[in-house]
């Protein structure tokens, strides 16, 4: 299983903060994004945003990053702290 978490505006748009899904057929962040976008129109729209950032196990990564079962993947908008 892959744990997926969402933050800030993204969490609100999806009305979801966390979910788990099978790692079957998912090799990279791009694969996971495509699968999530497939859920419905709303999710498709949200994941079409090219500015979204992603992290695997608390490290920022690109779409090509390989992922595997047991990983924690996060999607979130560009950060605005400080």
């Amino acid at each position: 299983m892959i744990k997926v978490v969402f933050f800030a505006a993204l969490r609100e748009q999806l009305d979801c903060s966390e979910l788990s899904l099978s790692s079957e057929g998912i090799a990279t962040i791009a694969d996971l994004k495509a699968q999530l976008a497939n859920k419905n129109e709303q999710w498709q729209q949200v994941f079409a945003n090219g500015a979204l950032l992603s992290a695997v196990n608390h490290d920022m990564v690109t779409s090509e990053q390989p992922i595997k079962s047991g990983d924690e993947v996060a999607f979130f908008p560009p950060v605005t702290g400080g």
Binding site: H58, A74, P77, V79, G81
Partner: protein
């Protein structure tokens, strides 16, 4: 299991902090560093023409600490630093409230000035914090500024 002391140089907290106390900790039993540079970020009353009433700060527990620890390590690779402390508040903050503190000591001022600015510039673009602004015209999530990306890229 992550304990409170996993990252002694980093604190993510809802509570306020005291600049005087933080400076005292940076200076205590520290005779070798002649320079102490601190930065404090506060909530402004106006942003992009709107009257701000408060901010709500969200973060990604775990990743926040890890990303700040990485930024501090990078700063230590580049400059000769003594002590470093980074505090970032989360939750609801009001006008004039302190949001962020970066304190750095070194033997001489150049290293402390540069490292402090470097840590702030990188925190702005890499640490997973998000601000929701509550204004007289409603609430909204702040957009990241490209000027912040440029500042971090110049290092």
């Amino acid at each position: 299991m992550m304990t409170e002391n996993t990252y002694p140089e980093i604190s993510i907290q809802t509570a306020d902090f005291s600049l005087a106390d933080e400076v005292a900790l940076l200076e205590q039993d520290n005779a070798i560093d002649g320079a102490v540079v601190t930065f404090t970020g506060r909530v402004r009353n106006k942003n992009e023409g709107k009257d701000v009433t408060s901010l709500t700060l969200e973060h990604y527990p775990g990743m926040t600490e890890k990303s700040l620890a990485k930024i501090i390590c990078q700063a230590k690779e580049r400059w000769r630093l003594g002590r470093v402390k980074v505090i970032h508040r989360v939750g609801e903050l009001f006008i004039g409230d302190q949001i962020v503190f970066v304190g750095v000591t070194s033997k001489h001022r150049q290293d402390a000035f540069a490292a402090n600015e470097f840590i702030m510039d990188y925190l702005k673009v890499q640490a997973p914090f998000w601000k929701k602004e509550n204004t007289n015209q409603g609430e909204h999530w702040l957009d990241a500024k490209s000027s912040d990306e440029h500042k971090a890229a110049k290092w």
